[in-house]
């Protein structure tokens, strides 16, 4: 009856050997290719450092001005422009300017990276149902696997710093843009595509001038979600040495500094709300634009 009361388990020694084997294999992989992979990401690191330095070196009134202009271009709403400027001024006033700029830099680069990687994958997924079937479980995994789990191999491969942090954030943040690009393109009217085919459009022309423009509002919802999720990962990225608003939060957690944690947490919330409202308004305006054209 032992069989039913005790789950048949792999014996302890071979289980340990297996774990050790996996660890060793990955260690060897990282020894062999770690430097190469690191070199591959060097341009990104360079860009990220430059951006952060630029943001830090620019006088704050100019940053506020640029922010206001971007907010206006995105949303065409005075309320939002004033709101974002006030929020940034509060962040600066409470001494979080430097950390906030570091966070803005990494979120910006992360969003750009997610868009350049995510949209092509989404397009391929939309064109081939087989790829879609393969990608969906991968995306599910990327979104649900606890981030600490993939921090370990990233640490072994790339050490600590901005690039590993960026990759960790992107793994978590890229799925929505892939999913929504796929969805958006699949949702484009069959008749519209038929019409463009009738006009003799090539596959690429169809994609470029019909499918993507019509899917743009959905894709934009994906971008918005990606930014939100990237911001949510800021604290975890700080655990592998990314500077920014996450660092004081970690400090606050281990020392139970309520106020410090609250201030920096709220700063992340403020950033999130600003980015969210601006991109959402922009997305809505794109949809309106499409409506008028119809």
């Amino acid at each position: 009856m032992d069989f039913f009361s005790k789950f048949p388990v792999m014996d302890r020694v071979s289980l340990m050997e297996m774990r050790k084997g996996i660890d060793l294999a990955f260690r060897e992989f990282s020894r062999a290719y770690g430097d190469g992979i690191e070199a591959f990401f060097d341009p990104l690191l360079f860009f990220l450092i430059r951006l952060e330095k630029l943001l830090l070196a620019t006088p704050w009134p100019i940053i506020l001005l640029v922010l206001g202009i971007l907010a206006w271009l995105g949303s065409r709403s005075w309320k939002l422009v004033v709101g974002s400027i006030v929020a940034f001024m509060l962040i600066g006033y409470f001494g979080m300017w430097k950390d906030c700029m570091a966070t803005v830099a990494i979120i910006t680069v992360c969003t750009i990276m997610c868009i350049t990687v995510g949209i092509p994958i989404g397009v391929i997924m939309a064109r081939s149902s087989r790829v879609e079937k393969m990608m969906l479980p991968v995306l599910d995994m990327m979104q649900t696997i606890p981030s600490f789990v993939y921090l370990i191999p990233i640490l072994m491969l790339l050490g600590i710093g901005k690039i590993p942090g960026l990759i960790a954030v992107c793994i978590y943040a890229v799925p929505p843009i892939i999913r929504l690009t796929n969805l958006g393109i699949r949702e484009v009217d069959k008749e519209t595509i038929e019409a463009s085919t009738a006009f003799g459009a090539t596959t690429f022309q169809k994609l470029k001038s019909v499918q993507i423009p019509l899917a743009l509002p959905t894709i934009f919802a994906g971008v918005n979600q990606t930014i939100m999720m990237a911001l949510a990962m800021v604290v975890i990225a700080s655990m592998i040495g990314v500077k920014g608003l996450g660092v004081p939060i970690l400090r606050a957690i281990s020392n139970q500094y309520l106020a410090l944690g609250l201030f920096n947490g709220l700063a992340i919330v403020a950033l999130a709300i600003i980015f969210d409202r601006i991109t959402q308004k922009y997305g809505q305006r794109m949809q309106k634009h499409r409506g008028q054209k119809k």
């Binding site: 690191l45 050490g159 655990m239 660092v247 970690l250």
Partner: protein, 340 residues
């Protein structure tokens, strides 16, 4: 007659000695030892359990613990009877008081040698830069170019302590005290314990230089053979350390260069331990000193095999007889060996 007398006396002495020995063993009653929640403390508690049980006939129960709760309970309630690895700096004042009031006894002032916090380099560093061998921190600080930072290769990277740890403040203040920024260094915040360990294992794996903060005894020090760096300056003063180096930056206006404070670890026992355990048990605890490298080797064994304290204790007793053999009487040694 004389011979007979001698015989009687000597045989009496032998009987008496045996009786005393049996008494001593019988005298050892039930002891409770704290098994704190980190590897070296787990190992020590389990080794103590086996030695005291097999060698001295005590009955030992292990209960889980941690620095503060265990100390408070020992101080207030006299239970558990022993904490094999009490970090003394954390409980400095109350421990002093408890000792002077004879509630607690410091049975061993240094159960592990070579322990403490400080600055370390990896062996790969020495391989790459042979002249660094034997250099003090003061001398290494003149060469930031040996440790190029990934994000700004013109600066030297010094890996400090994760945000929120006590040592983070100390490292940040020492960074200022040694004027490291002016000398071309950046202080890297590894973010977490995993991050700190990650920088070391990555540097060790790729053979690139690494210079930063760590502490001993740990499996990392054992596994990668980290080399401690002498600070090149003396410990400045208690006042400098307690009222400046360990405080936040704004509370430490003028940090002075100093070596790291000595970490003190004791094995402390309650008054009850001395009574229940008898003289021999106390004598054993007094003699029980783990050489740092043996402790580190055991920690590596534990980490590699994901071993529990009880498994590691048996491994230790089997592999390092030369170490623990000196702690116990020869009869106890035999009994312990037979009991394994």
């Amino acid at each position: 007659m004389k011979i007979l007398k001698k015989l009687i006396i000597s045989s009496l002495a032998i009987v008496g000695f045996l009786a005393f020995n049996i008494n001593a063993n019988a005298a050892c009653g039930k002891l409770v030892i704290a098994e704190q929640n980190w590897a070296s403390a787990e190992l020590m508690a389990n080794v103590d359990k086996i030695i005291l049980e097999k060698g001295y006939g005590c009955t030992v129960e292990l209960i889980p613990g941690a620095t503060m709760p265990t100390f408070t309970s020992m101080d207030e309630k006299g239970e558990p009877d022993m904490n094999p690895e009490q970090w003394a700096n954390a409980v400095y004042t109350p421990l002093k008081k408890a000792v002077s009031e004879k509630r607690l006894i410091i049975a061993n002032k240094a159960p592990i040698t070579g322990l403490g916090e400080g600055w370390w380099i990896t062996p790969g560093t020495v391989e790459k830069i042979p002249e660094i061998k034997g250099m003090t921190a003061m001398e290494i600080l003149e060469h930031p170019e040996w440790f190029p930072s990934k994000e700004d290769p013109s600066k030297g990277a010094f890996v400090g302590c994760p945000a929120g740890w006590g040592c983070q403040l100390a490292n940040a203040n020492l960074f200022r005290a040694f004027e490291m920024e002016k000398k071309g260094w950046v202080l890297i915040d590894p973010g977490s314990a995993a991050g700190l360990d990650g920088t070391i294992s990555k540097a060790a794996d790729s053979g690139s230089p690494w210079f930063g903060y760590y502490w001993n005894p740990t499996s990392m020090v054992g596994k990668y053979g980290l080399i401690p760096v002498d600070f090149g300056v003396k410990f400045h003063s208690r006042d400098n350390w307690d009222n400046c180096i360990t405080l936040a930056e704004q509370d430490c206006a003028d940090p002075k260069p100093t070596a790291w404070t000595k970490s003190e670890v004791n094995s402390i026992v309650t008054a009850n331990f001395a009574e229940t355990g008898g003289k021999d048990a106390i004598k054993y605890v007094k003699k029980r000193t783990y050489p740092g490298e043996v402790m580190n080797a055991m920690l590596v064994y534990m980490a590699d095999n994901q071993a529990k304290g009880s498994d590691a204790a048996i491994e230790f007793l089997k592999q390092h007889e030369g170490v623990w053999g000196k702690w116990v009487s020869s009869s106890a040694k035999k009994a312990i060996k037979a009991g394994l």
